[in-house]
Every structure is written in structure tokens, then in C-alpha cells.
Amino acid sequence: MSEATRLSHGRIRPGLIVTWTVLFIGGLIMISPLAFMFSTSLKTADQIYDLRLIPAAPTLANYISVLADGRFMRWFFNSTLIAVLVTVSNCFFDSLVGYTLAKFEFRGRYFIFIAILSTLMIPTEMLVIPWYLMSSQLGWLDSYWGIMFPGMMTAFGTFLMKQFFETVPNDFIEAARVDGLNEFQIWWKVALPLVTPALSALAIFTFLGNWTAFFWPLIVTTSKELYTLPVGLSSFAVEQSIQWEMIMTGAAIATLPTLLVFLVLQRYIVRGVMLAGLKG
């Protein structure tokens, strides 16, 4: 712990009260776009010029009308399905590859590691044109697989998992071999449970990244039924033009799930971000 922790334990200094107040006001400013978004989503069209955060007569009418035609439900489903499948794939493959690179000696190990790591240097934007071409030739345009395939494995996740598997003692693995587990079982039953903090960090990052992804889904989808939530919201907002209470409701629907997940898992998420940021 830093020395600051100790400082605050003893006497309370006036400086600390000022610091706290300024930080608190700053925090309120940071959160205000979210507060206004939710507030306006609960207002009727004639109330939106009223700046009060607590609506005079809160109503769920906007949510009902936005959700009524089923489009948002569909986009919500698409985004959830895609984010979950891509996350599962990353947790499986990235950790399997990370484990293999960390715990086996074989010819080509270093080469494969460097090759995978080098893909970190290649920006998505450079690959979208070839991916688009590939998708159109293979009939992947406008499909779930088309949206998902570029992200099924990532170098970032592989690197993160490799770093953590290196901390798993070899004795554990040897002991499991002696017990007659095969290599896959050793990874799955012995090594993987030892790196759950890293695995949850990877899961959080992958889910969040795919849930909020905009650029590639915008390119690869053309029919509205296959839009993800961000792409759907964008098209919905353009269509609503100046009906801000409707746009805010759509934005709130796109934002709520990640915020709710955060409220439940705050400690793990913050720790995961720290882990990934420092090791990654």
C-alpha cells in the first residue's frame, strides 16, 4: 500500500477534505452524461427541455415504444450471442495456446510466440478490406460468423495467459502427469483453475470489446436483423432525427448491461483492468 493509505488513517487534514470534495464534484461531472441519458429516457417529449435530473413524471413509455417493434430485442440478442461466443472462444484458445507456449519445450515455440505477438502490431483497419473480400467470397457477409470470425483469438489474450501460466509451478504439472492425467486434462483441471484471475480479466475485456464493437460490424452487416446493438442504435438514432428522448432510451438500453455487470462485479473488473494493463 502507498503512503497515502497511512496518511488518512491518523488525523483528518483539512487538505484531504478539499481533495475529497473536488474529486467528488469531478466524479459527478464524469457521470453526468450517463445521468442525463437515463433521466431523459424516462421523460416524455415535452419534458426534455427541463434540465431537472429527476423527471417530474417518470415514465417507461419510451422503453415500451422502443422495445415494442422488436428491433432492439433482436440487436440485444445478437450482441449478447456474439459477445458470449467470442469470449468463450478467446478464453479457450488464448489460454490453451498461452499454456502450450509457457509450459512445453518444442522446436518452433519461440517462432510461434513471436509470430502471434507480431499480430499486435497490425491494426484491424488494415485487415478489414481483406476480411471483407474473404467474407464476400465465402458467403460470410451479413452473418453471425462474419461478425465474429476476426476476433475468435487474440494475441493480447494469448500473451496475457502465457504470462500467468508461467507462474504455475512445474511440480503441479509433473504431479498430475504421474497421476495419469493426459496433457489436455492437466491444462483443463490443474493449470487453468490456478489462473482464474487472468482468465476473468480476459473474459471481461473480450466481452466488453465485442459488446461495444462498432467498426467491423458496421462494415460486415447490411440487413437490420443482423445488426449488433451499437450499429442498430446508430441507425435507429439517425432515423429518429431529433426525438432525443427516444435516442437516449436506445443509448440507455445499449449501456445498461455493462453498467449492471460492473455494479455486481466491480472488484473483479477493476482488478482485471489493472492486471491486464500492467501485464499486457
Partner: protein
């Protein structure tokens, strides 16, 4: 590691048990674990990378097959005034946005680290924007920036007696208005990383400094900042790459004239998007992506170089 290798080598000799040796068996496991990933990285990462370089040397409209034109796309690009404008916009996001967001994030992290009362709650206030969808929040900010009586910011300005501002409707202010949105969205992440970096500094360093009679400011300059350098360099690069690739916010805040008004907010990625998927000039767009790649590569190499220098 060595133990595994030795054991593998030892049991790799033609054994008594018959069938496959331990070593061969283990190698079979290794390559079966790696088979699908190798295929994936080859087809989805490496092949497209080379293809992007190749396509950048062709003229291609998706209808007729690509025609090799060598460096014509690059020559066209460097002569294109729109490209230079976009180039300038992109670097404006980077050069102004990165220092502002890092100074803000460090200041907040530095003080937040000392606050215990409601620490988690205040941290959450700063961190939550990081978890939002950029496309969704772009619309919230777009609404904030509207003229009165719709736009919240102009309403507040009105109450405080500050003149109304055009924000995203003005060629002078639009880029900075969008930049604020991007800084806001990324700040929480940077604060968390800075706080992790601050906590990694051993308390004994501070004690020693205090015994030596250093003041707060001297401790910050001589201990905190130097020891925080790896964190700072990481965040500078992370943030720079983010600004160089900015797209979601710009696209959603300027849908009626993407990159407008008058191209004043258009970043490189939006130009790439329009060249490829509005004009279908795939070869020309590929050349632009190669330029983006080169810029990002230089930024990443600079990071490695800076970190190596002082070891």
C-alpha cells in the same frame, strides 16, 4: 521448464514399453493444441496483412479484378489535399488529446489514491464511462452539444451568463468537442492503470525520502514520476493509438455529414471507411490503411525505444 524438457528428453529415447515415446506423445499434444490457432492466425491475420499490402498497389473497384498500378495509390494519396487535412485532424486528436487526458488521469489518480472515504464509490464514478458503448455515448454528447434549449451544455452556459457556443456545428470547435467525448470515455481506464502503478511503488521509498527531508513536491518529482515511467509510457502509447484510430465517436456525432462540418473532424479511419465502403476504391483505401499501419508502427517502436533507453 528445464525439468520438463529433461524428462521429455530422457523418456524420448527408444523406450522399452513400445508404442509412442513420451516425447513424441507430448509433441503430438503440443501440435494438436496449436493446430487450429496456427490455421487461424495464418488465414485471418497473416494472409490478410500481405493481401492489404498487395491491394495497396492495385486499382480495384470490387467489380473488375484488381489491376496492378504499383505506387500510383500512394502518389495519389500524398497529392490529395483531403488526405493532408485528415492527417492534420488525426494528429490534432493525438497531440492535444493525449497530454490532456494523461495529465487529468494522473492528477485524479494521484489524489484519489489518498482518499479513503467512499473511495470505491468515487472511483466508480470515474471508471463507469469506460464501460459504455462509444456509439451510444456519442449520441448523448451530440445531444449535450445541441443549441439551446435542447443542449444541456448551452443551457448551463446560459445560466452562467456564458455566450452560446456552436460546438459540433462549427468548423473550429467540432474537432475539440468530439475530442472531449473521447477523453471522457478513456479517462477511467487511465486512472485505474495510474492507480495500479502508484500502488506498485514500495512505501519504503517514500519513508526514505521523508527522512531525507524531501517535501511533497520533491517526492512527486524525484520518486513518484520516475518510478511511474513504464506506466506512463504504456498509457501514452495506448492513448495515442486510440486517438490515431478514432472512429466511433466521429462517425456517430456527424452522421449527417460524416467527418464534417466541411471535413473538419474527419480522422484517417473515417477516410478509409468512406474510400472503401462508400466509393469502393479498395486499392486506394488499402494504401491508406498501410499509411495508418506505418504510423502506428512508428508509435509502438518509439515506446520500445524510450523504455529501453533508461534501463
Amino acid at each position: 521448464m528445464a525439468a520438463i524438457e529433461q524428462q521429455g528428453a530422457a523418456s524420448g529415447r527408444p523406450g522399452s514399453g513400445g508404442g509412442l515415446s513420451m516425447r513424441t506423445k507430448r509433441l503430438l499434444w503440443v501440435w494438436s493444441f496449436l493446430a487450429v490457432p496456427i490455421l487461424f492466425y495464418t488465414i485471418i491475420r497473416f494472409y490478410p496483412t500481405f493481401q492489404a499490402f498487395y491491394l495497396s498497389l492495385t486499382s480495384w473497384d470490387l467489380v473488375r479484378p484488381p489491376k496492378l498500378v504499383w505506387f500510383a495509390n500512394y502518389i495519389k494519396l500524398f497529392k490529395d489535399p483531403q488526405f493532408w487535412k485528415v492527417f492534420k485532424n488525426t494528429f490534432t486528436y493525438l497531440i492535444i488529446g493525449t497530454p490532456i487526458s494523461l495529465v487529468l488521469a494522473f492528477t485524479i489518480a494521484f489524489f484519489l489514491d489518498r482518499v479513503r472515504f467512499m473511495h470505491n464509490f468515487i472511483r466508480a464514478l470515474y471508471f463507469l464511462p469506460f464501460l459504455t458503448t462509444a456509439a451510444a455515448m456519442a449520441w448523448v454528447w451530440r445531444w449535450f452539444y445541441q443549441p439551446p434549449p435542447i443542449g444541456v451544455i448551452n443551457d448551463v452556459f446560459g445560466m452562467l451568463g456564458i455566450p452560446q457556443q456552436p460546438f459540433i456545428r462549427s468548423t473550429d470547435q467540432a474537432l475539440f468537442s468530439i475530442m472531449v467525448t473521447a477523453i471522457w470515455a478513456g479517462l477511467g481506464f487511465q486512472i485505474i492503470i495510474f492507480m495500479a502503478g502508484l500502488r506498485a511503488i514500495p512505501g519504503t521509498f517514500y519513508e526514505a525520502a521523508r527522512i531525507d527531508g524531501l517535501g511533497e513536491w520533491a517526492i512527486l518529482r524525484k520518486i513518484t514520476l520516475p518510478l511511474l515511467k513504464p506506466t506512463t509510457v504504456f498509457l501514452v502509447v495506448f492513448s495515442s493509438i486510440g486517438f490515431l484510430r478514432i472512429f466511433d465517436q466521429v462517425y456517430n456525432m456527424t452522421t449527417n455529414d460524416p467527418g464534417g462540418p466541411l471535413g473538419s473532424t474527419k480522422p484517417l479511419v473515417l477516410m478509409i471507411y468512406q474510400t472503401a465502403f462508400n466509393s469502393y476504391a479498395m486499392g486506394y483505401a488499402a494504401a491508406q490503411t498501410v499509411v495508418l499501419f506505418t504510423i502506428l508502427l512508428i508509435v509502438s517502436l518509439l515506446q520500445l525505444w524510450i523504455l529501453r533507453e533508461k534501463k
